[in-house]
């Protein structure tokens, strides 16, 4: 591959960030050639760690002038190849920009730099009795910058929403190097287009987020956790619909099918049942009376819908063990086979039973193993296929199976990705969801803000609508 960065440009960049923050060694580049997405790897030309917004701006200006791609990267935990530098260029890392700048207890906001680890932020605000709800499974290591760029979800999405719902203001370096601020600590603000929302979930394709002001809410007083076990998948799905129809919005409503349970239990060893067909992990938080009333009512609904057993966690430790077990579902599945393909097809929650049933039929049709878990409450499922990238024949079948799963999700009024993002992985499918005109509208925005296509190129928009999911050449 041709080297995108001439020696002269390299020297300019080093003058901005310092020698120690510019790495173009082979090993240094290799370890930023991937993220958590299987089958994607591509070397950047250099890795740069800017120390402040001004340095980001100056780096971006040079890149814009010389048409060098820029890929902003948090901890590289995303699952859509969003931070894989598929067209080379520069990977921007935020290890120096990782400070919590302010916790404003009067306005209930926290202002952070993009490199702050999600869990560190949660712990810092919780120490002050405040709550930042979005909790992606990778929160122990994911960064806020990554969460914002991918609009990450999590287990609490049903009741509390996703990252988008907590971003109030941003500082962004645009592709031309200009620094803009959007939104602020305001509950109401209609001055112009809502650029904050535009940048959330833009996957680094429109600009580099260098600071964010996030909304906080008071910490719920109590929380309770329970498990409902089912002999029948559809009974579990029906329970989900019934709970919501009964006007209860639980904090968590997670679904795990039998194959997933087996693997998670083998890893976590906390006594999860492995002989049932499905499990719902249900949580409610809030004032004590409300939590107790809701839990009781939900337990009744589950039993009525043929749950074989409903168990309340006896202690916070037991509850935490259950939540942790759910969070490790994806990675635990990775124990089965060398390669793990994880999808996040999402449907309206009323359609969950149909979707789960369809997934099982599709898996059978193509003779592949698919384990399904996910956020049943918001219809966001994670059909996951343990496979082996070296087995070309099986990979072809896996690809076809997922194509059919996407098609089914859209048919049921759903989407190709609920929370992982489009990145390079789902780009060929975006048009299925948006249609030609939808793509054109998005491309117009991209073209206006990044005319030279330097901001994370090769993501979101496919060069052509290829019908490929998991096999990359």
């Amino acid at each position: 591959m041709r080297n995108l960065i001439s020696n002269e440009v390299k020297q300019q960049l080093i003058r901005i960030v310092g020698e120690e923050n510019y790495d173009d060694s082979k090993a240094g580049r290799l370890v930023y050639s991937y993220d958590a997405t299987p089958q994607f790897q591509s070397l950047p030309d250099a890795v740069i760690a800017p120390r402040n917004t001004l340095e980001v701006s100056r780096v971006v200006k040079i890149c814009n002038e010389h048409r060098i791609p820029i890929v902003p990267r948090g901890s590289g935990t995303n699952l859509c190849a969003g931070t894989c530098p598929v067209e080379g260029g520069i990977v921007l890392v935020f290890k120096h920009m990782n400070k919590i700048l302010e916790i404003d207890e009067e306005n209930l906001t926290v202002t952070v730099q993009p490199g702050v680890i999600t869990l560190d932020l949660m712990n810092a605000v919780e120490a002050k009795g405040l709550f930042y709800p979005p909790d992606p499974s990778s929160m122990k290591i994911s960064t806020i910058g990554g969460n914002i760029n991918e609009n990450s979800g999590g287990l609490r999405g049903l009741k509390y929403g996703v990252t988008r719902d907590y971003v109030m203001g941003l500082e962004v370096v645009l592709a031309n190097g200009e620094i803009i601020r959007t939104g602020g600590k305001l509950a109401k603000d209609v001055a112009g287009y809502d650029l904050t929302r535009l940048f959330v979930g833009s996957e680094g394709t429109l600009g580099v987020i260098t600071e964010a002001t996030l909304k906080l809410i008071p910490m719920p007083e109590t929380k309770k956790t329970m498990l409902a076990l089912y002999e029948d998948l559809e009974a579990a799905a029906r329970s989900v619909s019934k709970i919501i129809a009964n006007k209860i919005i639980p904090a968590t409503l997670e679904f795990l099918d039998q194959p997933t349970l087996e693997v998670v239990e083998a890893y976590a060893q906390i006594g999860l049942p492995t002989d049932v067909q499905a499990v719902l992990l249900i949580e409610q938080d809030g004032p004590k009376e409300v939590v107790e009333r809701d839990m009781k009512k939900m337990a009744e609904i589950c039993k009525k819908e043929q749950a074989v057993s409903v168990q309340l966690a006896r202690s916070e430790e037991e509850a935490e063990a259950l939540r942790t077990a759910r969070r490790t579902a994806l990675s635990a599945l990775a124990r089965l086979k060398p390669t793990t393909i994880l999808e996040d097809a999402t449907v309206p929650r009323s359609e969950i039973a149909k979707m789960v049933k369809a997934i099982n039929e599709i898996a059978e049709k193509y003779n592949v193993k698919i384990c399904t878990f996910g956020h049943a409450g918001d219809g966001n499922l994670h059909p996951t296929c343990p496979t082996d990238a070296r087995d070309r024949d099986e990979m072809e079948r896996v690809e076809k199976a997922f194509e059919e799963i996407f098609a089914k999700a859209i048919e049921l009024g759903g989407t190709i990705t609920g929370e992982h993002g489009v990145g390079a992985m789902k780009a060929p499918y975006l048009e299925w969801k948006l249609g030609e005109a939808g793509i054109a509208a998005m491309k117009a925005i991209k073209q206006a803000l990044d005319p030279n296509n330097i901001m994370n190129p090769g993501k979101v928009f496919a060069k052509s609508t290829r019908k490929r999911v998991v096999v990359t050449r």
Binding site: K26, L30, T77, K140, A334
Partner: protein, 454 residues
């Protein structure tokens, strides 16, 4: 420095010897990153994380990169603490990958003459021979007792050493006289009826420099009701060799140890050093390709147990134990925790001691930076990690920091020196502390007895 030709051989060896399934098992989820001390202390550099290192190993196998200086640097910087393994949802056995990669590089790298001589002496001529270990330690003992030490300290002669070694010299325990090191027991009867028959793995450093700790271990086993067999044919566990890229020698030592223990008809083989215990516990992996040894290794491995586990199983914590009133904290030995999976037993025992207020320090499960000879070969990173550790220990206001491995013990002692806490804080091996507590109760019972009868 490796030459181009060496790199080519190393790359070929990577392709032949590295376990491809294990490399592919890493799904790059990144769950290991927050547990990796070098990732954190290097300011979040992916090349100093387990995920980064696995990616580099795989890239060498895939011929995406050459095994150049930077790759070697990344592998050398790893402590080998294996904190990444328990948190790895995919169950990648990172330690095995690292060991194999290091072995390949070491075996095909042309070291300088001096390094070759030192490696040969230490790995091949010293540690495998208990007799020579005793002689070498005897020399240190002579240095300490003859007045040479105080001479060297006073005259500033030690200033020729790098600062980390200079500080290390300060915290070395007093080595017992050679005569005592030679007269070791081979069989000990329990106090009271036999509850269990165990063998004791003495280790090489433990049975010389830390002989008192070994004595305490055997005494505790006796107090707990164990008949203790100490087979004289045992030798060094080979951990230093295995971690240092001398796998062949490690295998030889493993076989000698298996032979020394396999016919003893004991319930457990007891260790008191996490580093040794963990290596012994993986003899089955070490010898997996040798048909006639793999079954024997498995039988050996099944019996390895840390002293703390044996004591807890025998309800030692139910005995009355007493120490002067103080706050105590515990620093996990990485290999004891991450490989032998022993972390609750030492804490249980400490909590059982009257007078002890046990306070957990933050990140007690994070490596102290000792890591075999890491603190000598990577002093800068090691001291950075140690200083963080001492900061966390300080926050507990503990007067005693308990550890369960000789390397950790020396490192924490060094940390106490560096932090200027020597007048207030001490570091001690778990068994020494437990024996003090057992004696403490004896002493106070005696006092009681005297008071009552006088």
């Amino acid at each position: 420095m490796t030459t181009e030709k060496e790199r080519e051989i190393i790359q070929k060896q990577f392709q032949e010897r590295m376990d491809e399934d294990e490399l592919m098992n890493c799904m790059r989820c990144g769950f290991c990153l927050p547990t990796c001390p070098t990732y954190i202390e290097s300011g979040f550099q992916e090349s100093h994380s387990p995920r980064g290192r696995i990616a580099l190993m795989k890239a060498v196998v895939d011929r995406l990169i050459e095994p150049d200086e930077d790759v070697e640097r990344s592998l050398n910087m790893c402590l080998g603490c294996r904190a990444c393994e328990p948190v790895c949802p995919s169950g990648v056995r990172y330690g095995h990958l690292l060991e194999e990669a290091r072995d390949i590089i070491q075996q095909h790298k042309k070291h300088s003459f001096l390094v070759r001589v030192v490696r040969k002496l230490v790995f091949h001529e010293l540690f495998p021979y208990p007799e020579r270990m005793r002689m070498a330690m005897g020399l240190i003992g002579f240095y300490q007792r003859s007045g040479l030490q105080s001479f060297a300290r006073k005259t500033g002669l030690l200033n020729i050493l790098p600062s980390s070694l200079r500080q290390m010299e300060k915290v070395l325990p007093n080595v017992p006289p050679l005569k005592e090191m030679k007269e070791r027991p081979h069989h000990l009867a329990p106090e009271g009826p036999v509850k269990r028959r165990v063998a004791f793995f003495t280790g090489c450093l433990m049975d010389t420099m830390f002989m008192a700790t070994n004595d305490a271990t055997m005494r505790l086993l006796q107090l707990a009701g164990c008949e203790v067999i100490i087979p004289p044919a045992q030798t060094c566990c080979g951990a230093l060799h295995g971690h240092g890229g001398e796998k062949q020698k490690a295998k030889e030592l493993a076989k000698r140890n298996i032979e020394a223990f396999e016919r003893l008809e004991v319930d457990d083989i007891v260790t008191n050093a996490g580093g040794c215990g963990a290596f012994l516990m993986e003899y089955d992996h070490l010898l997996k390709d040798e048909a006639e040894w793999s079954e024997r290794a498995k039988a050996f491995v099944a019996k390895i147990k840390d002293i703390s586990e044996v004591l807890v199983e025998l309800d030692f914590q139910q005995k009355r134990l007493k120490a002067p009133p103080q706050i105590v904290t515990y620093q996990d030995s990485c290999h004891l925790r991450n490989v032998m999976k022993t972390s609750a037993a030492p804490r249980k025992l400490l909590r059982a001691i009257e007078g002890v207020e046990f306070r957990e320090m933050k990140d007690a499960d994070r490596c102290c930076g000792s890591a075999g000879i890491y603190n000598i070969v990577e002093p800068e990173m090691s001291m950075q990690i140690l200083d963080y550790k001492m900061e966390m220990a300080k926050q507990t206001k503990a007067a005693t920091i308990v550890t369960a491995n000789p390397g950790c013990l020396l490192q924490v002692k060094l940390g106490i020196e560096r932090a200027g806490l020597a007048d207030r804080v001490r570091a001690v091996h778990l068994v020494d502390f437990l024996l003090e507590a057992a004696k403490g109760i004896q002493a106070s019972e005696q006092e009681e007895h005297i008071r009552k009868t006088s």
